[in-house]
């Protein structure tokens, strides 16, 4: 298994606040890494540093052998990223937005057409394709964000709460999609839904107050609880007084 993402002693502080402290981990192809932790734990900040949106205070991020600070464009080309809240240009229609992403990702000819058709089909946004994004429901907006992230068939997918705001059926579809893509890609998702970790992730990492507290398989995580319960294990790890 080759390493897609290598993170070495990564830290980020905003003024006096240490959002991420000295985190190191690798992600290989074929892995789905679940990023867990309470709100404000530093999950999104870590993802933002991997995708090149935030600069680390110290430490390094390497994506496919490219350092994110030295060669940001190569890193950005190989990553598909769904930012927190799935931001998109509201005044655009879904179709023109995806065409814009296809332009920027340099997809052309039949490949472009095939990818657009395929993504619209798998994400199931064909019915809203001519609507402007600001008129869509939260679930559809999230799906447009997903479509944008996977359009260029990236090696590496980073998704900040991909199932937030989706109904149970849509959650199920997105999980299946992630599982289907997992074979060839390296995927990082952050989530608050612990059952999701068991359902789709091959590995889980728990961050709290910027520190890495757990790194292992979902089975190992469950074994941290004497009740055999993932919620209980999560609390054991993240609530220090217990």
């Amino acid at each position: 298994m080759s390493q897609a993402i290598k993170i070495k002693s990564l830290s980020k502080s905003f003024g006096a606040i240490d959002a991420v402290c000295n985190i190191s981990f690798d992600v290989g192809y074929g892995e789905v890494l679940g990023f867990l932790g309470p709100n404000g734990a530093g999950k999104s900040t870590t993802m933002k540093m991997i995708t090149g949106f935030l600069e680390p205070t110290s430490g390094t991020v390497e994506v496919n052998g490219h350092d994110v600070l030295e060669d940001p464009l190569s890193v950005k080309r190989s990553i598909g990223y769904l930012p927190e809240g799935a931001p998109a240009y509201g005044e655009m229609t879904v179709k023109s937005f995806l065409n814009f992403i296809a332009d920027i990702r340099e997809l052309s000819g039949s490949l472009r057409k095939n990818r657009l058709d395929e993504v619209i089909e798998t994400i199931n946004i064909g019915t809203v394709i001519d609507q402007s994004i600001e008129t869509l429901s939260k679930g559809y907006k999230r799906r447009v964000g997903l479509a944008q992230a996977i359009l260029h068939d990236p090696d590496i997918l980073i998704m900040d709460e991909p199932t937030d705001g989706l109904d149970p059926n849509q959650k199920h579809e997105v999980r299946n999609l992630i599982k289907k893509m997992a074979e060839k890609k390296a995927i990082i998702i952050s989530t608050h839904i612990l059952e999701e970790v068991d359902a789709v992730c091959s590995r889980a990492i728990i961050i709290s107050s910027g520190k890495l507290l757990f790194d292992g398989t979902p089975e190992q995580l469950i074994s941290k609880s004497d009740q055999g319960n993932i919620d209980h294990a999560f609390r054991n790890i993240t609530v220090p007084s217990k």
């Binding site: 933002k48 995708t51 090149g52 949106f53 935030l54 464009l73 950005k76 080309r77 990553i79 990223y81 930012p83 927190e84 809240g85 931001p87 998109a88 240009y89 509201g90 005044e91 655009m92 023109s96 814009f100 992403i101 332009d103 920027i104 990702r105 340099e106 402007s132 944008q148």
Partner: protein, 244 residues
């Protein structure tokens, strides 16, 4: 290059999918008309030229250009799309230039729609059309100067209102820097060379010579340097402060 083109295309078409473009163009045309015929006394002057038309462009741009530029970056910050934009494989410089060129092209369209003025003056008399052409080019270049300031200021804040107000103030200082109200501030203590330098920053001084039909290379260099400077600062601001 591909990145610049894609972002340019997206930005440019985005003006026309909302009412912004149409409202702006109508107001711009209406205001140029009012200024030319009433304040500029176009008919009364009995001269076949467009000087009364171009004379008020700096003042119109003072308010209208910041209204275009205020959303350039503030809106990206506010809606969070800056995170999407900055994680796409395009350099910050390319993005800044693409957004700026899209806004400038839009201004060029608004300006070109004043062509009935040109037809009118040609119908009424025999104006020197090379002077008219030079004035149009000068006006467009000056609009580019205002836009570069506005784009840079817009990168500083996620509030469009703040971006608008600060841009207007800075543009106002650039218009007036040749006038006593700005120069008096420096008169007492600054050496003459500094005062001359400040006076030479005035948009009005540079526009006045272009308006006479003379496109002096020094005026072009002035505006080119000004635009480059503000866009460079724009890039630096975004580089250092992508997230809020």
């Amino acid at each position: 290059m591909n990145g610049i083109l894609s972002i340019y295309k997206r930005e440019f078409t985005s003006y026309f999918v909302t009412p912004v473009a149409y409202v702006f163009i109508v107001i711009f045309l209406f205001m140029t008309g009012v200024f030319t015929f009433y304040l500029g006394a176009f008919y009364e002057s009995n001269q076949a030229d467009l000087e009364p038309f171009f004379r008020f462009h700096p003042w119109l741009y003072l308010f209208l250009i910041p209204a275009i530029s205020m959303r350039l970056w503030s809106d990206e910050r506010k809606s969070g799309t800056i995170e999407l934009l900055m994680t796409l494989p395009v350099s910050i410089t390319d993005t800044v230039v693409a957004k700026y060129l899209a806004a400038w092209s839009f201004t060029a369209i608004a300006l070109s729609l004043t062509f009935p003025m040109w037809i009118t003056v040609n119908y009424l008399g025999n104006p020197d059309n090379t002077v008219v052409l030079a004035s149009y080019i000068g006006s467009l270049i000056m609009a580019g100067g205002f836009l570069a300031i506005g784009s840079c200021i817009s990168a500083l804040t996620k509030s469009q209102v703040i971006a608008f107000v600060i841009s207007v103030v800075i543009c106002f200082m650039f218009i007036l820097s040749g006038f006593p109200m700005v120069l008096d501030l420096f008169e007492d203590w600054a050496p003459q060379a500094v005062i001359d330098a400040i006076a030479s920053f005035s948009f009005l001084t540079h526009f006045t010579s272009i308006k006479k039909g003379v496109i002096d290379i020094r005026d072009v260099i002035y505006f080119a340097a000004l635009i480059t400077f503000w866009l460079y600062v724009n890039v630096v601001i975004i580089e250092n402060k992508k997230a809020n």
